[in-house]
């Protein structure tokens, strides 16, 4: 079953084509890894799908419901989430960071606290609860960003190079979280060069060359 279908998605900057995708069809519950050289359009595609940037043109359909980018619909924004290569953590507590998207969705306080508690356990961050986010290591920051996304149970998860710049241990922990995230039924699109991520079971590869999907 299709989760997201995108057609004629294009983005250029100063006459340079950043992205030109004729047709992209993402199935529900599947995981995709976006590969390609630097500048091939991986991050641009993720940012367009997340509604952070607007394309020059294109149309989409999410679970059969058509949408456009101008403006990007709020209902779609609530169905997916995006995590930066270097995640930004708000200058508040770890629990507040995880609760942010739940607050934006109007989740009641009791339910929010329960979900945050689950996310802390899932990402193994409970022992760091009193640590300011700015003092976390790179791996811990990545786990917090994943927990902040996981707690929302998004139908579509967009990740930009989640294992880049991490040490071996942090990388393994992040890959383990990606594996459990994938098994929860979420469709994931992961821009990545990491072979261990590319070779995760049931991972479908989408290769981008010059802004076009060739595989």
């Amino acid at each position: 079953m299709s989760l997201l279908v995108v057609r004629s998605l294009a983005k250029s900057l100063a006459r340079r084509v950043l992205l030109a995708i004729d047709d992209l069809n993402l199935s529900a519950g599947k995981s995709y890894v976006l590969t390609g050289e630097n500048g091939s359009g991986k991050s641009t595609l993720l940012r367009l799908l997340a509604g952070i940037e607007a394309p020059d043109g294109g149309s989409g359909c999410f679970e059969g419901r058509p949408f456009g980018w101008k403006p990007y619909p709020d209902w779609l924004r609530r169905q997916l989430t995006y995590v930066h290569q270097q995640p930004y953590l708000f200058h508040s507590s770890i629990a507040d960071n995880i609760a942010y998207g739940l607050r934006a969705r109007g989740v009641a306080r009791g339910e929010r606290e329960r979900l945050v508690d689950d996310a802390l356990s899932w990402a193994r961050l409970r022992h760091l609860l009193d640590t300011p986010p700015a003092r976390l290591s790179g791996g811990e920051k990545q786990r917090l960003a994943l927990a902040r996304a996981w707690v929302l149970r998004p139908k579509l998860l967009l990740l930009d190079e989640p294992t880049a710049n991490l040490d071996a241990d942090s990388r393994q922990q992040t890959i383990e979280l990606l594996r459990t995230f994938g098994s929860s039924g979420t469709t994931a699109v992961i821009a990545c060069h990491d072979r261990d991520v590319i070779e995760l079971p049931d991972m479908q590869r989408l290769d981008l060359v010059g802004g076009r999907i060739v595989q």
């Binding site: 997340a50 509604g51 952070i52 709020d74 924004r77 609530r78 989430t81 995006y82 995590v83 930066h84 270097q86 995640p87 930004y88 708000f90 200058h91 508040s92 942010y100 998207g101 607050r103 934006a104 969705r105 700015a134 902040r148 929302l152």
Partner: protein
């Protein structure tokens, strides 16, 4: 009276709780705090809108705001005087020589400082802050609130800077307040008056209070600036 004697008399006035002196301090702080309460939300909101929106005339507005940072307070006072005087377009409101007129004047002086500093603080925020809020499903009001919280120390520095500028300004307060004892006489206007009368003790005592207020504000400004760079 020599400087030493005058200083001793000033300290005595301060510790004895001289009603006139502390009344003047009260007028000063009351007017400035009311002005800040009005100017803060307006200035920060205007800074946010300028920082996050593109519209025709935006660049001109930024240039004008930055130009107004250096506007002489006495000129602001003069313009306000002309507007509020009996022949002015707001003359019927009979606001001239009232604390309300002083508050309006201080709001006008504080606004460019708040707008320019807020603009700079919000423009300097990490772009990922807004993108992350957006990606997590926040609507426009929550994104705005989040961004302001993320740059809160820089905004506090803006508030301190505006407070420091208006609490010590004399030109506008003198012109639209009229320096009426117990009503519109604030610290800067009282210092000027008492000194011109030769009552150095009162002037020095008020000067010490004003200096301590300015020192406190500047220390807070330095603290918040330091925190915002961490």
């Amino acid at each position: 009276m020599g400087l030493v004697d005058a200083t001793q008399a000033a300290l005595l006035l301060l510790v004895s709780g001289d009603a006139e002196l502390w009344g003047t301090v009260g007028v000063s702080l009351s007017v400035t705090l009311r002005a800040m309460l009005i100017a803060m939300p307006l200035g920060i909101a205007a800074g946010y809108l300028l920082a996050t929106n593109d519209f025709p005339g935006r660049r001109l507005l930024i240039i004008v705001t930055q130009g107004l940072l250096a506007s002489p307070t006495v000129v602001v006072g003069l313009i306000l005087y002309l507007l509020l005087s009996r022949q002015g377009i707001f003359g019927e409101l009979q606001l001239l020589f009232t604390q309300t007129a002083m508050v309006i004047g201080q709001v006008l002086i504080a606004l460019p400082v708040l707008v320019a500093f807020s603009l700079s603080a919000i423009q300097g925020a990490d772009p990922r802050a807004r993108e992350t809020a957006l990606a997590l499903g926040a609507g426009a009001p929550r994104i705005a609130w989040t961004l302001l919280l993320e740059v809160r120390f820089a905004l506090m520095a803006a508030v301190c800077s505006a407070f420091g500028r208006i609490v010590s300004e004399i030109g506008c307060a003198l012109m639209v307040g009229g320096n009426i004892a117990g009503v519109t006489r604030n610290m800067p206007t009282a210092i000027a008056l008492e000194t011109s009368k030769g009552d150095f003790a009162q002037g020095i005592a008020l000067g010490i209070v004003l200096l301590l207020v300015a020192l406190g504000i500047n220390s807070a400004f330095a603290f918040f600036q330091g925190e915002s760079r961490r």
